[in-house]
Assembly symmetry: C2
Homo-oligomer: 484 residues x 2
């Protein structure tokens, strides 16, 4: 075996919020940590960019809502302020090609459908309260709940096509998956982890309540500054060999990353560690070769946790003109490319930004349209809702998460029928010296930044617990960094 | 960029039956081909082994049936003979813990259930005839058929629990997936590719009709002999960079494999080629890093094509004692670890072998039982069916396909709801210089050895068509092998 290029206590694979929080917690516990990140940046599915015209756009996760306390604490720590998502005025409902204004969470143009939607959401919320966010497979009816899709459930739970369509829109916006792709048990567990489905889809009082002045990636950048050269960018982990210590030798891992040099040449780089925390979505973890192979149940889980498909678009205007017409910028559509839009203008309204989601099957099929084709359709739809001025943005940007090899989609994994009951327990179960973080493993706000932070704390705590005081690096003198 | 270690016309990634047939077809067309295989053997999901007592066991694919003409031709070519799967005497049905003998395809202890099962199978077969094996998404009701699972369909199509349970057993045996994991559209398309669901589950006249004297891997071994040093074993492909030739430079790939040396050290090995054929299941392909990333729709497909979960067990006895009792060795069970068994004795009956499948959720959860625990339960179940003698085999072997890193499960990919309509066209669509083989891409007998062979021929034909005569290696003098 080639010797290690570096030896640390713990390797963290992935520098999204979950990996950063893992690393920070481990460092605070006195451990020697190295974070290997595949991309040339930190933040994972959270990415703030500045457009040529100076608009700040969050290309990924962007919001904070009530009970997301870890994220709020992090923002406070780094002095990042928040402001309410703009929601003054009327939202717009697009139904059967017509546009109808409405106030509040649920569109109202079809009165029966509106009442039915509220009743259906309530049913979903009540069901979700019964399902554990961490152990949904323990529910007495777990098998039955996991056997059907959200689409199948809503087919019988709702009486109107309007309610079914609105649940589909919610699924697309929340998961990047259509309701026919999602296990009901998974949806219930996921919703409960954030409170309820209603809290997931609410702006005021829900997951979309507030935004970060300057963008949601800032705290990741500050965390990364603090971690300093413990983070190595451009270093995707490609393989991991490990031993669980069963034969008397100490448990440990050898992590091989493929580093890209200045000349674009690649070289393997090996880091030995006592523990590894994999802080990435299961589908991305699935790319890493493990030796010995991971247990079959973990392997099967990883193949059954596909990422949703989502493209986020931002249309930038010189001012938020829709506000003059008493519109909030929020659209809920029953069809088309953009099923949901938001006002993503800066707090001071110095320019106007409409943000929209292309999600699920439409996102996948829109690939053949190309960027120009998607822009054309999106602007047509924005103009239908907000008038001709919407067709003439000064800038239009899109972020296609399914084209990102180190995310493989977004915003989150979408589990289909039968997966949680068959493979769910493997989601967080350590394999020898390997522990799992990532928002998909969170017990609160799974799929959100808050969940990423919680998962990192939990994984780090697991690691610290297995490395008790006497076995710590400092005591055993393992800290022989041979340099990078 | 590091220069290539070797340059060929076409790299084939994977030396299962699809990759071997691809390579053979390409070589016959005069092309310079290199096959990179991750394992230390060829054959993929087909593996024949000899146990210590000298029993020949097929650990993976093993049968040949009517209309599997390519496979028959290959067996003829290499002089491998076949013999009928043993099916004299009564099959056994295990229902609600009791054992009932029956003759024919469908268990009969519950008469209403039996009639209902036949009617349900017929319904499924008729539906399957409407669905194209190659373009199921073109069906006028594709959306609706892809929106529901096989479980949901059978819930309404069948009137009895017996019929539902038998369809579940069929799904587990055919796909290694429970009916709640499978899209109805996928099941219909898959069944049609092999004729009908009935042909898939039949022994006489169906997919399990005959076996190969000496095992099903033999033709793969002979093909590999013929290909000689064009096959490199122990060389998993880890990354591929490619250009589609859009910018005027010729389309081509640079394939990086990780070769394991005699000292267990690993080294990267780079092969340049004009085309690449990826001959492996989508889920295994998903482990390879592509640069530029594959299109999002392909990426999303690959995340949504998980392998079924199956363990094949063989209990070896000194003679096929169940035949004395007038039993065929076939069991169909409504519960338990083994949902289906077969007589896998050699043709001359010189010893007795019972083979069984542990599939789907039970296969995954049985991981925690360990090999000894699984053996104990399997032997209890065999003894319940065939008497106490079955509890005392001279050998017991198991092959857990979900623990095989280069299969990731078996026997085949199981697509859930919404996948085919959303991502199906990406299954076979070339991406620049990259073509896709593997039985999951087959238009006939998808999931079977026959389908693997067909897919290889089709992929090779695609490649040859894009490399027209004037551009062939021989003419352009690219054939500068620099050695391996």
């Amino acid at each position: 075996m080639t010797p290690a290029d570096r030896t640390v206590d713990v390797v963290v694979a992935g520098a999204g919020y979950s990996g950063l929080q893992t690393a920070r917690t481990l460092v605070d516990a006195g451990l020697d940590v190295l974070v290997l990140e595949a991309r040339d940046r930190v933040g994972g599915r959270v990415l703030t960019e500045v457009t040529p015209s100076g608009a700040v756009v969050d290309q990924g996760g962007q919001w904070i809502g009530p009970t997301q306390d870890r994220l709020q604490a992090l923002a406070d720590e780094y002095g990042v302020s928040t402001f309410p998502t703009y929601l003054d005025g009327a939202n717009l409902e697009v139904r059967d090609g017509s546009v109808h204004p409405f106030i509040g969470l649920v569109p109202t143009s079809d009165r029966d459908g509106s009442a039915d939607t509220v009743a259906t959401l309530l049913d979903l919320d009540l069901l979700a309260q019964e399902v554990s966010p961490t152990h949904p497979w323990d529910h007495p009816d777990a098998g039955a709940l996991d056997r059907i899709t959200l689409a199948e459930w809503v087919e019988s739970a709702a009486d109107t096509q309007t309610a079914r369509s609105l649940v589909a829109t919610a699924a697309l916006a929340v998961f990047g998956c259509g309701p026919e792709e999602l296990s009901l048990l998974y949806v219930l567990s996921y919703a409960h982890s954030g409170g309820s489905m209603s809290s997931l889809i609410r702006t005021a009082g829900g997951a979309q309540e507030r935004r970060f002045t300057g963008g949601a990636q800032q705290m990741a950048l500050r965390l990364a500054e603090r971690l300093g050269d413990r983070i190595v960018l451009d270093a995707p982990v490609v393989s991991v060999s490990y031993t669980d210590g069963g034969t008397g030798e100490p448990a440990g891992v050898m992590v091989t990353a493929e580093r890209r040099g200045a000349d674009d040449g690649r070289s393997s780089w090996r880091v030995a560690a006592r523990r590894l925390v994999v802080a990435m979505p299961p589908a991305v973890q699935g790319r890493i070769a493990f030796d010995p192979p991971l247990p079959g149940s973990r392997e099967q889980l990883v193949q059954r946790a596909p990422m949703g498909s989502v493209t986020k678009i931002h249309a930038v205007y010189d001012r938020p003109f829709w506000r003059d017409a008493g519109l909030s910028g929020q659209v809920v559509a029953d069809a088309g490319m953009l099923r949901a839009t938001f006002d993503d203008s800066p707090e001071d309204g110095s320019h106007g930004i409409l943000m929209g989601f292309i999600a699920g099957a439409v996102d996948r099929s829109s690939e053949s349209d190309g960027a120009a084709g998607r822009q054309r359709v999106c602007l047509e739809e924005l103009a239908r809702a907000f008038g001709p001025e919407a067709a003439e943005p000064i800038e239009f940007v899109e972020q296609r998460w399914s084209a990102e090899p180190y995310s493989r989609g977004g915003p989150v994994a979408g589990l289909g029928p039968g997966v949680l009951t068959a493979c769910g327990p493997s989601l967080r179960m350590p394999v020898g010296p390997i522990h799992w973080a990532g928002t998909e493993t969170a017990s609160v706000w799974s799929g959100y930044i808050e969940g990423a932070l919680e998962s990192g704390e939990r994984a780090a705590t697991e690691v610290v617990a297995t490395l008790d005081g006497t076995a710590l690096n400092r005591a055993t003198g393992l800290d022989e960094s041979s340099g990078q």
